[in-house]
Every structure is written in structure tokens, then in C-alpha cells.
């Protein structure tokens, strides 16, 4: 294997890693907003799925992918609102509300899909106009010939779909919002010690709703990316556990935006590896089976959730409905 070939392999792997990280990144950031405000969100999966369904369906019907995106985000926000009403206003159990939403999304997408498209719960393949397309950044072609940087710019950084750029720009934005603004300070305080916010004369409920609804928007973007960018149709259960992997990534990231980027890229990389190299040959002696490489992201999830990777301190008021004490 010569150098040029190896380099090409690396470029392809990087490109794929980025493409596959995007859904995780949206969901992970959604979880970050929600959990930083003290609302555990196990319903990321359901929100991704419902958004994927509605974005694909509306894109297909209207022929306009942006309308599809809007529908996906809207559906995800409706789910987020239900989560908020159950766990903030009525102080229900946040995890149970999230699980319920996951079931609801799973069933609802199939039932509506069957009735709507009569294709076994899937949506028809999306035509060109109903999908997102790659954006070519300026000078991508002129710079392509520069060694190393050229291909990196032209094939990895440039040539991604619009939501990819949005996802990656959301990282610095989230960091700035959480740590440099009043909104962020209050949002984090609500997740750590809501009584401190309440006694300061600020509404805990308002900030928790804001966080949950932001999570709704972000999951909506993630789901829309899944159905109209990463794939080009809705398929049953197409979120396939990414909402849960995003939760693991969130814990791995210790609820910090930059770490979230790193951990989502790691998961994306593992998925890319399993797609690109299903059978890894170890020195010609032993072949790692495809099932193993495909299972890697899930294995890492289990390892992280079991707490083998460092100590992560969750927001202290997480999971607890706020009840005013005297």
C-alpha cells in the first residue's frame, strides 16, 4: 500500500466520520441543553425518529426539502413540549416520560407511514428536490492540488450538506451561549440548584421549558438530517439507537460542548470504520468479523454507561422536578 493510497483512505474515513457524526452531534447537543437545565432526556431517540419521518414525508409530498425540515423540527418540538408538560409542569418522572415518547415515536411513524404511503411503514425514495445537497465551499477545486491540505479542504471540509455545517457551528455557539451569556448562566443554574434561581426571582419553569424546547429543535434537525441528507428516505426505526448513543456520548463528554464534539466524532469514526472495513484482517492470522466492527459503537456505549470511563458528574438537580420549598 503506497502513501497516496493510504492518504486517500484517511480522507475517505474522515469524510465519512463527519457525515456519520452529525446526527449524534445534534442529539448530543439536544441532550446537553436539556440535561444542563436539569431535565434528563431519554427521549432523544423518539424525537429523532419522529422528525426523520415527518421531514421525509413532507419533503416527498411538497418537493421542498426545507419545508420537510420545518415539519421534522415541528414534530420534534411537539414531542419536546409533551415531555416538558409531563416532567416540568406536572412534575412527572422524566425518564418515564422520555421512554413513553420513544414508544410513541416508534409506533406512530409506522402506523402513519403505512396509512400514508402503503409501503410497509417506509416513505418512498426522495427525489432530488426533496433532499439536501452538498455545498461546495469557495476555491474547493482550485485548492485541491495543494498536497495534504488540498484534498482535506476539498473532500472533507467542503462538499458536505448544509446541516453538517450547522451542526459543527453549533458547538462554539453552544459553548458561548452556556458560558458567556445570561441565558446560559441561568440555564446551568437551573440544572444545578433551581432554588438559587427561584430565590433570585427568576422563573425556573421558564428556563427548563426553554431548554427542553431547544432540545426539540436540535433533535428535529438531527432527524431531518438522517432522512433527507444521510439517507434519502424514511425507513422503519431508522434512528436505530442513535439517540441512546448520543446520551452515552453526552456522559462521555461530561456535559461539555467541546468534549461533546470529540465524543460524537469518536462514535462517528467507529461507525465509519465498520462501514468501510467490515472485515479487518489481523496480520493474516485472524479476521475480525463484521458483526464485531458493527457492534463497536454499541459496545463503547455500554462501556461508557457502565461508568468505566472516568467520573462524570451530572448536573446536580438533574432528574428532579423542582418543588418550591419554604
Amino acid at each position: 500500500m503506497d502513501f497516496a493510497h493510504a492518504f486517500l483512505q484517511i480522507i475517505i474515513a474522515m469524510d465519512m466520520t463527519i457525515r456519520l457524526s452529525v446526527v449524534l452531534l445534534f442529539a448530543c447537543l439536544a441532550g446537553l441543553y436539556s440535561e444542563r437545565a436539569g431535565i434528563f432526556d431519554i427521549g432523544l431517540e423518539g424525537k429523532l425518529l419522529i422528525s426523520a419521518f415527518f421531514s421525509a414525508s413532507f419533503s416527498y409530498e411538497t418537493g421542498n426539502v426545507w419545508l420537510g425540515l420545518l415539519a421534522g423540527v415541528g414534530a420534534s418540538m411537539v414531542f419536546a413540549l409533551i415531555h416538558g408538560i409531563a416532567s416540568i409542569t406536572y412534575r412527572g418522572n422524566q425518564l418515564i416520560a422520555g421512554v413513553a415518547l420513544n414508544f410513541l415515536a416508534s409506533g406512530l411513524t409506522i402506523v402513519i407511514g403505512l396509512a400514508w404511503f402503503k409501503e410497509g411503514g417506509q416513505s418512498p425514495a426522495l427525489p432530488q428536490s426533496s433532499r439536501f445537497h452538498e455545498l461546495t465551499l469557495p476555491f474547493a477545486d482550485t485548492l485541491r492540488d495543494i498536497p495534504l491540505f488540498g484534498p482535506l479542504y476539498a473532500d472533507v471540509i467542503s462538499g458536505q450538506k448544509p446541516l453538517v455545517y450547522i451542526a459543527f457551528l453549533l458547538i462554539p455557539f453552544t459553548w458561548w451561549l452556556l458560558f458567556r451569556t445570561r441565558f446560559g448562566l441561568r440555564l446551568r443554574a437551573v440544572g444545578e440548584n433551581p432554588a438559587s434561581v427561584d430565590t433570585a426571582g427568576v422563573s425556573v419553569i421558564r428556563y427548563r421549558y426553554a431548554a427542553v424546547m431547544i432540545a426539540g429543535v436540535l433533535c428535529g434537525l438531527g432527524g431531518a438530517y438522517l432522512a433527507t441528507s444521510q439517507a434519502s428516505a424514511f425507513g422503519r426505526e431508522m434512528s436505530s439507537g442513535r439517540g441512546f448513543i448520543a446520551l452515552a456520548a453526552l456522559i462521555f463528554a461530561k456535559w461539555r460542548p467541546w468534549y461533546a464534539l470529540m465524543s460524537c466524532l469518536l462514535f462517528g469514526f467507529l461507525e465509519a470504520v465498520s462501514n468501510l472495513y467490515p472485515n479487518i484482517d489481523v496480520f493474516g492470522i485472524f479476521e475480525i468479523p463484521v458483526q464485531f466492527t458493527q457492534a463497536l459503537p454499541y459496545i463503547l456505549t455500554v462501556v461508557i454507561l457502565a461508568g468505566f470511563v472516568g467520573k462524570a458528574v451530572a448536573p446536580r438537580a438533574g432528574g428532579e422536578p423542582y418543588v418550591k420549598e419554604r
Binding site: 458567556r180 446560559g184 441561568r186 444545578e192 440548584n193 438559587s196 434561581v197 427561584d198 427568576v202 419554604r326
Partner: protein
């Protein structure tokens, strides 16, 4: 200035706070009954009363947490409606809660500006707060590192952050709810200096406490509450602790426990060179040796976190240790199979833990269930191998509650529904009635009413007079001084010295607690 002031104004300045006819009921419980109170500007006003007397309710109404059923509030002579905390802040009222309302992993500055940020970006507010904090720390002894994380600050410093928060909100009236419960004597003195400084600058301070010594030391006027009513308001210099205690409880109270000199017998507990390393690998107890004899109370004084807790945990059987401990002359297992609480109980050790809510009781369980924990395997409580004899347990609990004056004497009430004093009585009843040779008592009267304190102290002294050995750990020096026959002071895992309560005082003990040698020598 409005002239709706109901009282005829004799002073030229309207009172900082005036409450007229405040009433508040929670269901059938009348927490505040027609309360009227006037607090002069630039004064420190104490409010004393037992737990449940309605002090906190009254202050919560003033701070907008509760809405009063009836009555009016005047701030600086102007009738003011306080529907929520932000209205209270706007009216210039600041509150330092008993349990701090701080975000632990925020910096001091972030905590100070939270809720009072100027504009969407934090930077200008942080700079402004930094400047103000510097001014305040120079003016009053309120120095705190503005960039420190709150969780890394001592309790005393955290309290300063709360005060700074109120001052940042330009509070003219500062309410402090049981501010010294968590402080060392030195920290409490420091707090009082801050309060006096603030008063001299014209701030009005309301101090809620159950410690009469503090009232006498720092307040100008004092109001007494009992069962939801304001029973008296007097000038501090015209009253005495005894009179205040009587007003609070409604009967004469013995503030000084009446006890005979001890007649110590054989050593019951002997500890030699005990060392404890906690889960985090920190050495908590560094070679402690002591002895408690039958018929005496050994008091261990010290700021919490200096090894006393771990000492009790080892004796109670839920902390491993090295060294030698003998009970009744027999060595006990410190690390092995017989180092658990059950084995300790078989050796005649009973334990009233420091934190009754997490270690002494299960708050969601009923009194009769709580009354047998640790002893639940005894034949008297069990019909056979499978079934417990609930009727017998309930009957016994009822009798115990009667003897220990637990109110209400209802075994089916959950532990969390009793007041602090009555919870403690349930724990005491369970442990004392086992007739132990050695009783370990940690913070017996933390958060307990004056009336109940008297009762609990009497029970402990009575047990001593029956010839039992008692090891008392308390952060309340007053309690240590009045109960103990001998006093040991712990600091940083060591014993700093032993003193005879008759020949020492809070000042000397306070110095030992801070790790400073005194020339008092062993008694």
C-alpha cells in the same frame, strides 16, 4: 413618603419593616396568627421561637414565598405587596437562607450576579460585581475570593457569598435564618462583626435563631414567637436568656442542666492509637487514644470534620479502622466479620448518630418501624422466622413514645412528619431503652427545640447516673460544657487536649478547636 402608617409615628423615620395583622394557615394548622411587628431602621432585630413556632413562615411571607391570608406589609412606611421573590428583592429585602441557595460549581462572582445580570452578556456584570465585592470586602470583613468555586469554600465563606448576593441586590433589609447553625464559634463571631458593621451603615437586620446567647450578644431588640403568635417584643438589654426561654416555651426552662458530680467506675470503652483512613484515602483519625468509664460523660468538642464523625462511625460499626478498641475489657473486631453494627449492638453499644435524618431514621417509614431498626431480629419483635409481630411492636412503640414524650404519640406517623426534637426522641428511645453499657451520642440536639433539648439532656444524664458510659460528640460548646464530666477537643484527627469543664470556658475550647495550644493542661 406615604402616610398610611397605621401606628402613630413617634420616630421621625418610619420603621424599616412593619407587619400588621399577618395570618397564614396551612390547612388546619394556623402557622401565623394575627402577627404585628415593627422593626426600626438601622437595628438588629432578633426573632426567637421553637421549631414550628412560625418564624420561617413569617419570613417566607416577607420574602414572597408564601402569600399571607390576611394582613399588610409596610416597607419604609409604604404599603407593599410581595407576591414573589423578585418583588421582595425590588423592595430591598435580602434573605440568607438556612440552607444556602448557591450553585456549588459556579464561581463566587457567578453566584452573586445570578438573576441580576445587566444585559444578555455576562462580562459587564462580572466586572461590576468584582468591583463591588472588592469595595464590600474592604468595608465590612466580607472578603471572599471572587473566582473561587463555591464548593471549595468553607461554610463560613459560603455564607458570606449569600450576604454579598443580598448586598449586590442593594438590600436594605437583611433576613438571616439560623445563620450560625453551621458555623464555628470563631466564624459566628466574625459574622456578628459583619452584621454590626452593616447595621452601623444603616442596614436593618432580622436575625432568626434559637440560640439565646446570640440574641443577647448581637441584637438590639428581640421578638418571641410561640405557636404562631408573637408573644413579646422587648429591648435586648431589658431581658435575660431565662426570660426569653420562658416566653418561647411557655413555662420555666432549665438552661443549665442540673446534675450531680460523676462517680466514674470501671473503664467501659478503651481506645488505643485508633487510625481511620476514609474511602478517599484521607487519614481522618490520626492515632487517638481515650477512655470512657462507667457513670461518666466524655464530651468530644471540635469543629465538624476533624475526625469525630469517623470515630463515632468506627464505634458504631460502619467504618474500618486500625488500632485497638476494648469494650468492657474485651477487644472488638475493627475490620473483619464482626466489625458491623449488629456485632456492636451485641457488645452493648448503642448509637445515636450525628445525622438522624440519614443515619438514625428512615424518613419515609413510620415511627413504629423506625423504633426497632437495628434490633428488628430480636425474638420479641418476631412471631416466627418469617413474620414480624407488628402489633407487639406498635404497642411497644406507643409506650416508648409515651415515656419519651414524643408528640404526637402516633406510631403510624412517618418519621418525616415529626419535628426535629421528636425525631431525636424516637432515636433516643430506641437506643436508650436497650439498656446499653455504652451510649454514643452525636449532635443530640442539632435542630432541636429548647424544650426538647432540656428533656434529651436529662435523659442522657439519667443514663449516666445509672452507671452507663456515654461518649458525646457535639459542635455546640454550650452543650459540651454543661453535659460533660470530662472534655476532649479534637482537631485534624488528633486529640488537642483534655479539660475539666469546671476549669475551662468556650474561649479556651474554641482555641483548641482551631488547633492552637493553650496552657490549660489536663485536669
Amino acid at each position: 413618603m406615604a402616610n398610611e402608617n397605621l401606628q402613630e409615628r413617634q420616630e421621625t423615620v418610619a420603621p424599616a419593616i412593619e407587619l400588621v395583622g399577618i395570618s397564614k394557615a396551612f390547612g388546619p394548622v394556623q402557622a401565623n396568627k394575627d402577627i404585628s411587628l415593627s422593626v426600626a431602621r438601622g437595628s438588629i432585630h432578633g426573632i426567637v421561637g421553637e421549631n414550628g413556632a412560625g418564624k420561617s413562615t413569617l419570613m417566607s411571607i416577607l420574602y414572597g414565598f408564601y402569600k399571607a391570608d390576611a394582613g399588610e406589609v409596610f416597607i419604609g412606611g409604604v404599603k407593599t405587596r410581595i407576591p414573589d421573590s423578585s418583588a421582595a428583592i425590588a423592595a430591598g429585602i435580602g434573605m440568607v437562607h438556612q440552607h444556602f441557595k448557591l450553585v456549588e460549581n459556579f464561581t463566587v462572582l457567578e453566584n452573586v450576579i445570578l438573576g441580576m445580570e445587566d444585559g444578555g452578556l455576562l462580562k459587564p456584570s462580572l466586572a461590576k460585581a468584582r468591583k463591588l465585592l472588592k469595595e464590600l470586602s474592604d468595608e465590612y470583613e466580607l472578603s471572599v475570593d471572587p473566582d473561587a468555586l463555591v464548593e471549595n469554600l468553607s461554610v463560613g465563606h459560603q455564607q458570606r457569598v449569600e450576604i454579598l448576593k443580598a448586598l449586590y441586590r442593594q438590600a436594605d433589609i437583611l433576613i438571616l435564618d439560623e445563620p450560625t447553625g453551621v458555623l464555628t464559634p470563631a466564624e459566628a463571631d466574625h459574622l456578628f462583626r459583619i452584621l454590626v458593621g452593616l447595621r452601623d451603615q444603616g442596614k436593618t437586620i432580622i436575625l432568626i435563631t434559637h440560640k439565646l446567647r446570640e440574641i443577647m450578644e448581637v441584637t438590639d431588640t428581640v421578638s418571641v414567637m410561640r405557636r404562631g403568635e408573637m408573644t413579646a417584643t422587648v429591648k435586648t438589654k431589658d431581658t435575660s436568656p431565662e426570660q426569653l426561654a420562658e416566653l418561647m416555651v411557655g413555662r420555666k426552662v432549665l438552661l443549665q442542666i442540673d446534675k450531680k458530680p460523676a462517680t466514674p467506675g470501671a473503664p467501659i470503652l478503651e481506645i488505643e492509637n485508633l487510625q481511620v483512613v476514609d474511602d478517599k484515602g484521607v487519614e481522618r483519625v490520626k492515632g487517638v487514644s481515650l477512655e470512657v468509664r462507667a457513670g461518666e460523660i466524655l464530651g468530644i468538642a471540635g469543629v465538624s470534620g476533624n475526625g469525630q464523625t469517623e470515630l463515632l462511625e468506627v464505634l458504631g460499626g460502619y467504618q474500618k479502622a486500625t488500632g485497638i478498641i476494648r469494650v468492657n475489657g474485651e477487644e472488638i473486631d475493627l475490620t473483619g466479620k464482626y466489625s458491623d453494627g449488629q456485632s456492636r449492638r451485641h457488645r452493648g453499644i448503642a448509637h445515636v448518630p450525628e445525622d438522624r435524618q440519614s443515619e438514625g431514621l428512615i424518613m419515609d417509614f413510620m415511627a413504629w418501624e423506625n423504633a426497632i431498626f437495628g434490633y428488628h431480629n430480636e425474638p420479641a419483635y418476631n412471631k416466627n422466622a418469617l413474620m414480624m409481630d407488628n402489633l407487639a411492636i406498635r404497642a411497644e412503640t406507643e409506650a416508648k413514645m409515651e415515656r419519651f414524650d414524643v408528640r404526637p404519640p402516633n406510631p403510624k406517623l412517618e418519621a418525616k412528619n415529626f419535628s426535629g426534637g421528636n425525631q431525636q426522641k424516637i432515636v433516643l428511645a430506641r437506643e436508650i431503652e436497650r439498656n446499653p453499657d455504652l451510649l454514643l451520642v452525636g449532635q443530640p440536639t442539632r435542630g432541636v427545640d429548647i424544650g426538647a433539648i432540656e428533656f434529651i439532656h436529662q435523659q442522657i444524664v439519667e443514663l449516666r447516673d445509672q452507671g452507663k458510659a456515654i461518649l458525646l460528640v457535639s459542635v455546640e460548646l454550650e452543650e459540651i460544657l454543661s453535659l460533660s464530666d470530662r472534655i476532649i477537643v479534637m482537631f485534624d484527627g488528633h486529640i488537642m487536649g483534655e479539660r475539666d469543664p469546671a476549669n475551662t470556658d468556650e474561649k479556651e475550647l474554641g482555641m483548641l478547636m482551631a488547633g492552637m495550644e493553650t496552657d490549660g493542661g489536663a485536669a
